[in-house]
Amino acid sequence: MRIRTVALLLTLFGMLIVFNFAHAQNAPEASEKGKEVYENSCAHCHGTEGRGDGSAAENLLPKPRDFTRGLYKIRSTGTGELPTDQDLFDIITEGMPGSSMPPWDTALSANDRWEVVAYIKTFYDGFKEAETSPKQINLSGKVAYSEQSVETGKALYTELGCVECHGNIGRGDGTSAPDLTDEWGFQSWPANLTQGWNFRGGSDTEDIFKRFIGGLAGSAMPAFEGDSFPGFGLTAEESSRMIELDNKDEMTEAEEEESAQLYEKYDAAVDIALNLAEGTELSAEEQQIYDDAMRVVYEKSWHLANYVKSLMPEKRPEPAIGNNVLRSQYIQDELPPMDDAAWGTLEARYFPLVGQIVIEPRQFNPTIDAVNVKSFYNDTEVAFLFTWDDRTHTTDETDEETGKTLEDALAVQFPVKVPQGPTAPKPYFLWGGRLPVYLWHWKASAPEQVTELTAKGINNAEAQAAQGELHVQSTYTNGQYTLWVKRALKTEDKKDLQLEPGVFVPIAFSAWDGANGDVDTKRVMTSWYTFVLEPVPSSKRFIYPPLIALLSVGFLFGLRAFVQRRNSEEI
């Protein structure tokens, strides 16, 4: 019995060691196998020498990572630190949403992924030279999500200057956004914080916290490690007081003194933080000051992460198919204008956009995620409300390469004739072909106007000779366009789409972000979706069913009477 227990313990102990070994780091030694996997699967984009210069790199943005600098955006480690092996493994496994890096969880075995981790580390000597393992960000002390935490985070968002790039409410539309470049000089758009599903390293609160503390190395996103915080070393109250005093136009003598004292405490704490970073040993007292300061910083950072989390929906909305198909809602009255509160009662339908890569010039690096649509109709008209995020408001830029005018735009595409039945052919989704399409084309330079087009191909569109009566309103605020279009259900023009309740109508979208070089075929788009004018439940339902019920009851009574009579006759 005793022997068995010992054996069991030994086995457990052995398993524990193996388990720990497998997780403690680490990629195996770099091998031929890793090189082979890398060259087959990674080098097309990242280059055989890891410089991010593979043959596909030219057309990609964000650019594939250059591994020779040891700069990695997505890390669990502090600013200036290298990533852990696990960090690299996770990126390969999960891919980087919003970029061209796909997840490799199914295409490569876990073993192969570890081999690749080992191999890409050979591109940067710093991995070999590092004497200690990279310092990971401490995630303990997480502040739970609450309204109050979100409020505190919101104030920090402004105070720390996040708005400069990420914009007032986080749509990545800050005033510095168009000019950002990465370490290699390539355009680098700030994240749209309302679209967590496009976050390269995930959108859990912990992920956001790590990006904030550690920065995104190689990008314009700075690290907000400890001493970047205004009032590092001060308590939350003291730092608010410091900022309050700073914002005063004039200070009394006592206030000057108070401010100076706060700054002195602040400077001293920064000095300690730098000493520590530079490798100086801290006294117990200094260590205490540092720890206290970091506690405040980390707590604030959690508040900020909670605020950013509050900006996005829980998950990416479902595309507008199946149960989520776009249903225009009937109302009896006048259709609501763009800013009417009635629109708030509808849930938007989500149409994800992808780059047009069929016809040259193509768009490999979309910047517009999706267009969201709501619709009402009444007996004579239909109104649509389209919204989509675009970080920049571009109405008239010139493309340096082609000399073409770049501007933001949206096109809504319908067939000219609604296919009869679900198997009937639809026009080609790229603006039609043999079967023509009917389009509403809106441009940011003429925000109150929509042009009706007929197209028989992506390069074969013409403005209709007879422009119908379309009512248009639009705005651009905080990185989002809103476009409202109203049209009669029926028109006289044979080239227009005619609408009828209950009929499923194909609908598709194209969008252009001028600042991303979108023009003509270079655009983002959807394939066909459908929408329907949701039929009004008929008022006849209050008449026929009771009538039928009555008749049935009458019939039964009649039958009963008849049977009874016959029975009595028989007797």
Partner: protein
């Protein structure tokens, strides 16, 4: 998940079809950098010599390029700003040239009291060229009281990208351990802001003033290679000038630079 991957691969394939080989910037490389001695020993220098001179620009002086101020107009746009990569003064004097000793292995120590600062004022870094001793802290000042971020594009040392929010008037940066430079400093918030830092292992570096003048003092007697670096005119690392400094003597060495 699989379809996702397939789609991505399809995109990649398409990219390969369209893409031509991506010409990597093989970097104008090391000859654009300063050259440092392998080791340097600080010692007392008595009766050292002086090297001084004037750096002039040769060629047509390009028109001053005004910088486009795209935000924070009130703070940043108070005066007109120009690209500072080439500042040619009266008599073709060339400002902001680093002149330095390439191969000195022993000499005076750094002036420990010197303040090493770059100010962010009016959304411009001042000075445009800063020399930072290895092991010393560079302090970033924020006179603007608006958000800046200090982004130092180091390659040998760790790159730095730290936010300096408006309440952060004075932000000392961690000292670096290795000589490197010049490396560019940028502010991502205000994309036009640019300066250059050199982390140096010895104090024999000078930056020319408006008159193009430089002076290197307390140079121990001996033979040296004299180098220069200029943002727009490049370096002479491949063919530095030989100078001989006599104890207590003065050597004059002028330079005339052209656009690279």
């Amino acid at each position: 998940m699989k379809s996702y991957l397939l789609a991505s691969l399809a995109i990649l394939f398409a990219c390969c079809c369209v893409g031509t080989a991506f010409a990597a910037d093989s970097g104008s490389g090391e000859k654009e950098m300063l050259v440092f001695p392998e080791a340097y020993k600080a010692m007392n220098v008595s009766n050292g010599g002086t090297i001084s001179g004037v750096v002039k620009f040769e060629g047509d002086v390009p028109e001053k390029k005004a910088l486009e101020i795209t935000k924070d107009e009130k703070v940043c746009g108070a005066d007109e700003k120009f690209d500072e990569s080439l500042i040619v003064g009266e008599g073709n004097a060339l400002k902001n040239t680093i002149v330095y000793l390439i191969d000195i292995s022993a000499g005076k120590d750094f002036d420990k009291k010197a303040k090493i600062e770059i100010d962010q004022m009016g959304c411009k870094f001042t000075p445009h060229i800063q020399i930072v001793p290895v092991g010393a802290r560079l302090t970033m000042l924020n006179s603007d009281k608006i958000m800046h971020n200090v982004h130092i594009f180091s390659k040998i040392n760790k790159p730095v990208n730290k936010a300096q929010p408006k309440a952060r008037r004075k932000m000392p940066l961690q000292a670096v351990k290795k000589a490197e430079g010049p490396v560019e400093v940028k502010c991502d918030v205000h994309g036009w802001m640019s300066a250059w830092i050199s982390y140096v292992p010895h104090p024999y570096f000078a930056v020319t003033n408006e008159k193009g003048e430089f002076t290197l003092e307390d140079v121990p007697a001996g033979d040296y290679k004299l180098g220069y670096w200029h943002e727009a005119c490049g370096t002479n690392s491949e063919a530095p000038v030989a100078v001989t400094v006599a104890a207590g003597g003065t050597v004059t060495q002028d330079f005339t630079l052209k656009l690279k």
